[in-house]
């Protein structure tokens, strides 16, 4: 079968072999757990517990703060120690609930609803919402909102994003190797919401073992197919993925639902399975701890709210002193200045590099080589947009599709002059988005 792909993109060193072959390991937190009230796109959640309350694992700590929002649940049993602003990965202070772990891990009693197969669409959506599920690939868009488009009958494809195109990350891969059935079952649950939709499991061809297993597992499912994607970053970008598997094009001002598609990441679909079929809310996730500065890189199943410091220590700490710590992948993750921050629902990875490429790369003059244009999946001209941003030429920036940038980082990666193109475009976009809201 032909490999599906998009125009543009890059092939950075993928570093996946560091963690690819190791089984996911469960770890328990040693310190307090911190739950920022804003770990999704949309309104922050509202605390429903107060200081001194005793909570159980799976108990709601904070309820949805609006339609586009999601509740937050405790991942351990213990006592609410404080509700106060805490630092999160981005460096911001965010109001958070701090729970002191009593080490007993008593839960509220997870059980699936009786006759799971007969749940109505609304019941499924309610279960997903109450489980606190948000897009776990990094964006954190509340999943029940994504799964409630204006016209559910107009959805033709539900795409499982199994590209995992970010270098170094292997959490989705391990999930597909160890629990592929949950992915398939989760996708089947989502498909029940859309009468006219087909399921597509889209996997990059560097995970051929997963493609084989998933193809076998879905051979009796008439509405689910497995498709092979070319391995290329950002193959798992929503717009690139939709184009690769359906040929439909989405721009920055459209939603995937506008072209009849809904895209969910592997972990999100598995979370849906847990919530609906097993009655387990989203209180754990898989985090890849890797990079050449980590002593024993591996994937861990962690209680959401555990601090990165804690996870790193359980991965053996640093083998050598790192120059750069990143939350997420090297292309789209956040640089972290400290480790004492909590993991959230969207924490995909902790990366530690011995060598920081960025601080070594001194920006020089653009030589107009056009490499950024070749790799840009948004088909814009990053070098020019960065110029407009630098000179604060808003009109030219908008006129030349500056808002179409998906901030994937390909242009900065390839630039021989080492210009921080993505950063410049990103700052301008942020400003324009803020203006538009006014």
């Amino acid at each position: 079968m032909a490999k599906l792909t998009f125009v543009g993109g890059i092939h950075p060193f993928d570093g996946k072999s560091l963690t690819k072959k190791k089984r996911i390991k469960d770890i328990l937190p040693t310190g307090d757990l911190v739950y920022p009230l804003s770990q999704h796109i949309g309104a922050p959640a509202k605390a429903v517990v107060k200081k001194g309350d005793h909570v159980l694992a799976g108990q709601m700590l904070a309820e949805s703060g609006g339609f586009v929002s999601a509740p937050i649940l405790s991942s351990v049993s213990g006592t609410v120690k404080a509700i106060e602003p805490r630092r999160v990965v981005t460096g911001d202070l965010v109001m958070s609930i701090v729970v002191e772990n009593d080490g007993k891990y008593e839960d509220v009693g997870f059980a699936p609803k009786a006759n799971v197969d007969k749940l109505s669409k609304q019941e499924i959506l309610d279960l997903i919402r109450d489980a606190g599920i948000v897009g776990m690939g990094g964006a954190g868009f509340p999943t029940h909102v994504k799964l409630s488009p204006k016209n559910p009958d107009g959805i033709h494809y539900v795409i499982a994003n199994c590209a995992e195109c970010e270098p170094y990350l292997t959490s989705d891969y391990r999930r597909m190797v160890e629990e592929p059935m949950k992915l398939v079952e989760g996708l089947k649950i989502i498909l029940r919401l859309f009468d006219n939709a087909k399921g597509i499991i889209a996997v990059e061809d560097n995970k051929s073992d997963c493609i084989e297993t998933l193809t076998k597992l879905t051979k009796d499912e008439p509405y689910i197919s497995v498709k092979t994607l070319k391995t290329k970053y950002p193959q798992g970008g929503e717009r690139q993925l939709i184009y690769a598997v359906t040929g439909r094009k989405v721009n920055a001002s459209m939603l995937p639902a506008d072209v009849g598609c809904i895209v969910n990441n592997v972990d999100t679909i598995v979370a849906v399975y847990h919530a609906v079929a097993e009655g387990r809310p989203l209180i754990e996730r898989i985090v890849t701890v890797t990079g050449d500065a980590v002593k024993s890189p591996r994937n861990f199943r962690v209680k959401i709210g555990t601090s990165y410091q804690d996870i790193l220590e359980q991965a053996g700490g640093f083998g050598v002193t790192p120059e750069k710590i990143i939350c997420g992948g090297p292309m789209m993750g956040f640089g972290m200045f400290q480790l004492d921050v909590p993991t959230t629902k969207t924490s995909t990875a902790l990366l530690a590099f011995q060598r920081d490429d960025v601080s070594r790369a001194k920006p020089t003059a653009c030589i107009n080589c056009g490499r950024c244009v070749e790799v840009c999946p948004g088909r814009v001209v990053p070098s020019k947009l960065a110029d407009y941003a630098e000179h604060f030429d808003e009109e030219a920036f908008l006129e030349n599709y500056g808002m179409e940038c998906c901030e994937c980082g390909c242009c900065s990666y390839v630039c021989p002059a080492k210009r921080p193109l993505t950063q410049e475009i990103k700052s301008m976009r942020k400003l324009q988005l803020a203006k538009r809201k006014k």
């Binding site: 890059i10 950075p12 004492d340 948004g378 009109e395 908008l398 993505t422």
Partner: protein, 313 residues
């Protein structure tokens, strides 16, 4: 938390390709043509090359000292110097060669803002400057015992040319332009290392071949076309100078338009102009049209119909 780590905006990794690396690649790709030029024209060719490269580098160095901004490490001045030497006849007075180097770097490049800001290829700008200022010295292609016209001039005069000599480079001409084979080896290096792609050279050469085939008076005679292709710096121009990043359009579509334009112009200059040559002027003219071409071929972002709606201002 005691230790703090470095932070930066994404992405956190960078490719190994650098500006100086690219320039080094171009220098390397010019080696076959340079080597052949030295072999063919003798030790004086070495002298011309040293003079132009040194004058380019020194100009860059002095300007850098004055501006307190050193840019010599990017090797672009070395590329300009070598390209200029390859575009000069071996008999050129050395002071002219040096003047050409200074003109290329100072007037064409640095005064317009330095690397990336020049609107014209510096080496070609200097060549045309010298060609206009010192036409005799610049068109004196005598070397050793050989005093004849360049093959292209002979071709234009209706004489027959030795094709094998032309392809291998055993003819008169500038230092680096005579051997089609040496230039093509260099072109392969550029293509394989990804420094250039085929858009500009291919559209340039194909257009040119069609043009001289149609209007050259010899039809599509393979011998005539081969002579036109391997003569007079066309290949050197198409692979090494028309592809100069700074002075060609940045978008793919723009590059095709640019290549076609160069092909047409070179054909017109060669067939209908007073001289046998045309590549330098065609490329320089093309350089000047780049802003216009880029404006005409502005890309449409992913997910929009051609010329589709944009964000409201």
């Amino acid at each position: 938390m005691s230790e703090l780590f470095q932070i930066s905006s994404n992405p956190h990794i960078r490719s190994r390709v650098t500006t100086s690396g690219i320039m080094m690649g171009v220098l390397l790709a010019l080696m076959p043509a340079t080597g052949f030029g030295i072999y063919h024209f003798g030790p004086r060719a070495v002298l011309v090359i040293i003079v132009t490269v040194a004058s380019c580098e020194l100009t860059e160095l002095l300007f850098g000292l004055l501006r307190k901004k050193m840019t010599i490490g990017d090797l672009s001045a070395a590329v300009t110097g070598l390209l200029l030497a390859l575009n000069l006849p071996v008999s050129i007075p050395l002071w002219m060669a040096a003047l050409g180097g200074v003109f290329a770097i100072l007037i064409v490049k640095l005064l317009f803002g330095g690397l990336g800001q020049n609107f014209m290829n510096p080496a070609l700008g200097a060549r045309c400057f010298l060609l206009i200022s010192f036409p005799t010295a610049m068109t004196n292609f005598a070397y050793d015992a050989f005093t004849g016209a360049t093959p292209l001039a002979a071709l234009k005069a209706g004489e027959s040319v030795n094709l094998v000599d032309m392809v291998f480079g055993n003819t008169g001409g500038t230092i680096g332009e005579t051997s089609a084979i040496a230039i093509l080896i260099g072109a392969c290096i550029l293509l394989i290392t990804g420094i250039i792609d085929l858009r500009i050279p291919a559209s340039y050469l194909v257009t040119f071949v069609l043009f001289v085939g149609l209007f050259g008076g010899n039809g599509f005679d393979p011998a005539y076309l081969t002579a036109q292709l391997s003569g007079g710096g066309l290949l050197l121009g198409a692979f090494f100078m028309a592809t100069d990043y700074v002075t060609r359009p940045i978008t793919g579509r723009g590059q095709y338009v640019y290549g076609i334009f160069l092909g047409l112009m070179t054909g017109i200059f060669r067939l209908f102009g007073p001289g046998a040559e045309g590549v330098s002027y065609a490329i320089i003219l093309g350089n000047l049209l780049v802003p216009l071409i880029e404006k005409m071929t502005k890309p449409t972002a992913f997910g929009y119909a051609k010329g589709g709606k944009r964000y409201a201002k």
